[in-house]
């Protein structure tokens, strides 16, 4: 199970996954959770900006951008 976990940044644009773990420092983690990115939330990687940073994701019906640095610490279970 854990073996298949990937950081969010491993997803291709357009790929969907479910949030499995947030290993960010408390402040960033708390903010993302308040915004609805809690464990178990389905999320879609919408696109990467130039040079793959920042990136745009979609969950709970809205779009959010975050930097690669934060996204690398969000682990997801891809939906095949």
């Amino acid at each position: 199970m854990t073996a298949t976990l990937q950081p969010l940044t491993a997803l291709q644009a357009g790929q969907k996954a479910v949030v499995a773990d947030l290993t960010l420092p408390p402040e960033a983690r708390g903010r993302l959770q308040e915004l609805g990115l809690v464990v178990g939330t389905p999320v879609e990687l919408v696109r990467y900006a130039l040079l793959n940073d920042p990136l745009e994701i979609r969950f709970r019906g809205y779009n959010l951008s975050l930097r690669r640095h934060e996204a690398e610490q969000i682990y997801v279970q891809p939906i095949p």
Partner: protein, 760 residues
């Protein structure tokens, strides 16, 4: 709550004057909600065009309040538009103000009679997070379900009455942009204020595990002054689960509670409870269940118009091209469109000055009025066209949702110097004028980043440097072709702009790594759906900015301009005046034998020359002249003499004053047409010699002086605006010194280095 006492206000016996008097308590309606939920649109719909805009004490967070129109029923309702926030856990000064107002922690803000939480119906879950948090606080609360039209368009039907049943407080569906549902909302607010409708929620929206609930109960019992007595449990949950909430509440909780909270967290950690996540996760579970029950997806969610637009606008290649095109269009329009009203204002001010001059008897009072006050007002209002235009465009970008995309596109570039994508637009705006650029930094949430952007913004060469560069290039840079058709003047001009940009980026990096060191702020930023900007919102934004500038910065600018006028005009020397009067009289006394037009013209020219000489003499012997001489030892190592010193001192009012002051110093006199005056001045400057007979304005001196103007903060208006935007004199003074030091250092290197290399 005090809502019971309010009903007495509608009694016919109450004299109406008492309602308007200072003692009459207006009922406060707070409007809160997520950013982009349409809060401000609702505020505008409720208050019409009358609203007061100011700051909360000690912070540069905008406070907007206004009277609810058509409130009726005796009691006035004051609407307070709180800054947008995603939760009660503050991550920025804006969010902290929103939280503090809801917790009665701002002495100037009374307790709310009603709290309206604006929730975006097309993005219900995240909006309900804040809404449920606020309902639990126990204020009378109304949930305003906004953007029902957008939700419908996206195929989502929200059942407002089902939501009302689930939340336990009134839910009013509205479309704030069209005004649909706003009357119903006003009725609901009135009903609640009059005590006819209950709006205090009783439900809790998170059910943490038993150990957590027990700890929360214990903490709740110890809270001395809960926000409302019946809801201390909600406050205890916040305190227990949220570091930020506790950290940002310094002084509001006694040490005993803090210690109890720390102990409770330790116990929870030991039993394996993630106290940071437990409450948030539980709340989102409850919200997801509510949302399932109250919404129906009429059509399966597909790609909206906004999604399709974003495929182009945030595309790696097309997105950047569109961005560059948008910016180019904006700057072209600012330069061309602002020119006309700016010239109009300048003409208007000089027209006024001339009329007052003609109408008043000569004397110190007239000089004060014309050259001090009226010219000072001119110096303030001349910024208005640029400020208005820039904020018109920024308002359009912001209200349409494009601004977040611009930050998304530019973020990578800006992080290289430790800044945020949102710093890009203010920096770019500063090419037109640093004042709107600095005012535009308010969109940057992180204080350190905002400050860093404010500190570097004036390094971008603004339009006021242009006349300085132009005159110096004309006077000092020979018009030679260098390489491949590139000419020296153009290259030097480009070089000055490049130097400013490089310095701005370098200083940003330096500040972010020293003085304003901190983690690179996160870019956790919503990309809201695109929508058509609303004329009312955008124009109101422009109006608020213009008014803020005039009332807050304008007064300081005016005062300093009057002071500078005094420095360049005083002390008066009676001898000088008598001497020049005599010379004028001598010219005028020549009997008009020759009535030929050439003779009359020659006489007029002679008189003008005498006037110019007198002005030059007055200036040279003025306080500013003495200051120029006093600072000569300081600026001599840069190649500058005391005459340039005078121009530097007086152009502290605004950089372009450099040109007119030099004209006076070199007895060129005033010229109505600035281009003409500049050419004439450049011609005189080319002939100017140093005491040893060598030419004064050499290429090297020109470059040294231009470099000085690239860096030096020669603009009182910028200083006044920075003072306002940072709410202290500390930062503008620091900025003035650091930029002055850079200016001196770089000019020193240019002049001394150039001379060592044998350049001229």
């Amino acid at each position: 709550m005090s809502s019971g006492g309010a009903t007495g206000m509608s009694s016919p016996k109450t004299p109406p004057t008492a309602l308007r008097g200072p003692g009459a308590p207006a009922a406060y309606l707070f409007i809160t909600g997520n950013p982009n939920s349409g809060k401000t649109t609702l505020f505008n719909a409720l208050t019409g065009l009358r609203a007061k805009v100011g700051n909360y004490p000690g912070v540069t967070v905008e406070r907007k309040e206004g009277r609810m129109q058509g409130a009726g029923e005796g009691r006035q309702v004051t609407v307070l538009d709180l800054p947008g926030t995603y939760s009660l856990s503050p991550h920025s000064p804006d969010e902290q103000v929103a939280r503090d107002a809801l917790f009665h922690r701002i002495p100037e803000v009374p307790a709310p009679a009603v709290v309206a939480v604006v929730a975006d119906a097309s993005n219900l879950q995240r909006n309900l997070y804040l809404a449920t948090q606020i309902i639990e606080l126990g204020h009378p609360t109304v949930v305003v379900l906004n953007m029902m039209d957008v939700a419908r368009k996206n195929g989502i039907e929200v059942d407002a009455s089902a939501l009302e049943a689930a939340l336990g407080v009134p839910v009013i569906p509205v479309v704030a942009s069209s005004g649909e549902g706003v009357p119903a909302f006003k009725r609901a607010v009135n009903d609640i204020i009059q005590g006819r409708r209950s709006a205090v929620g009783a439900r809790s929206f998170c059910e943490p595990s038993a150990p957590f609930a027990a700890e929360a109960q214990a903490v709740a019992a110890g809270i001395p002054q809960p926000v409302t007595p019946q809801h201390s449990l909600a406050e205890a949950l916040l305190l227990l689960s949220d570091d930020r909430f506790l950290e940002s509440s310094a002084g509001h909780y006694p040490e005993s509670i803090r210690e109890a909270i720390r102990a409770a967290r330790r116990r929870l950690e030991e039993s394996g409870v993630d106290w940071r996540s437990a409450v948030i996760e539980s709340r989102y579970q409850a919200i997801a269940a509510i949302q399932q029950n109250v919404t129906r997806e009429a059509t399966p969610p597909g790609h909206t118009f906004s999604d399709r637009l974003d495929r182009v606008l945030t595309h790696k290649v097309w997105g950047l091209l569109v961005f560059v095109a948008v910016l180019a269009a904006i700057f072209q329009s600012i330069f061309t469109l602002a020119q006309v009203p700016m010239e109009g204002l300048e003409h208007g001010v000089s027209w006024l000055g001339q009329h007052v001059e003609a109408w008043m008897p000569p004397g110190a009072l007239r000089n004060l009025l014309v050259d001090g006050v009226i010219a000072g007002v001119g110096a303030v209002v001349v910024f208005l066209p640029q400020i208005c235009l820039l904020f018109l465009f920024l308002g359009l970008l912001e209200d349409s949702g494009y601004m977040a995309r611009a930050a998304f596109l530019m973020d990578r570039l800006m992080t290289k110097v430790g800044l945020h994508g949102k710093s890009f637009i203010p920096m770019l705006s500063s090419f037109a004028c640093a004042i709107p650029g600095i005012m535009a930094t308010r969109t940057i949430e992180n204080q350190r980043d905002r400050l860093a952007t404010i500190l570097i913004a004036p390094l971008m060469s603004c339009s006021a440097r242009l006349p300085v560069y132009t005159v110096l290039i004309a006077a000092c840079i020979p018009d030679r072709e260098l390489w491949g058709g590139l000419r020296a003047p153009g290259l030097v001009m480009l070089g000055m702009y490049g130097l400013g940009i490089a310095a701005a980026l370098g200083m940003a990096w330096l500040f972010k790594n020293t003085l304003l060191r901190g983690p690179t702020p996160m870019l956790i930023m919503e990309l809201p759906p695109y929508r058509r900007p609303m004329a009312r919102t955008v124009l109101r934004h422009v109006w608020d900015r213009a008014r803020l500038f005039l009332t807050q910065a304008g007064t300081i600018i005016l005062l300093i301009n009057i002071l500078l006028w005094f420095l360049v005009s005083y002390p008066h020397n009676q001898d000088t005046r008598t001497r020049f009067e005599a010379r004028r009289a001598a010219v005028q006394a020549v009997p008009p034998t020759a009535t030929a037009p050439e003779a009359a013209a020659a006489r007029a020219a002679e008189l003008a020359r005498i006037d110019a000489e007198e002005k030059g003499e007055v200036l040279r012997s003025s306080f500013a002249g003495r200051l120029g001489r006093a600072i000569e030892p300081l600026i001599a190592p840069l190649g500058f003499d005391w005459r340039i010193g005078i121009a530097i001192v007086s152009s502290f009012a605004a950089r372009e004053v450099f040109v007119s002051t030099l004209s006076q110093v070199y007895d060129v006199g005033d010229e109505d047409d600035p281009a003409e005056g500049g050419n004439k001045l450049a011609g005189v400057m080319r002939l100017e010699k140093r005491p040893d007979g060598s030419p004064m304005f050499t290429t090297l001196l020109g470059v040294s002086l231009m470099v000085f103007y690239v860096f030096a903060l020669q603009c009182v208006s910028t200083i006044a605006v920075v003072r306002r935007e940072t709410a202290s004199w500390k930062w503008p003074l620091f900025q003035w010194f650091y930029m002055g030091a850079l200016a001196w250092g770089f000019s020193f290197v240019v002049w001394q280095g150039g001379r060592l290399l044998g350049w001229q």
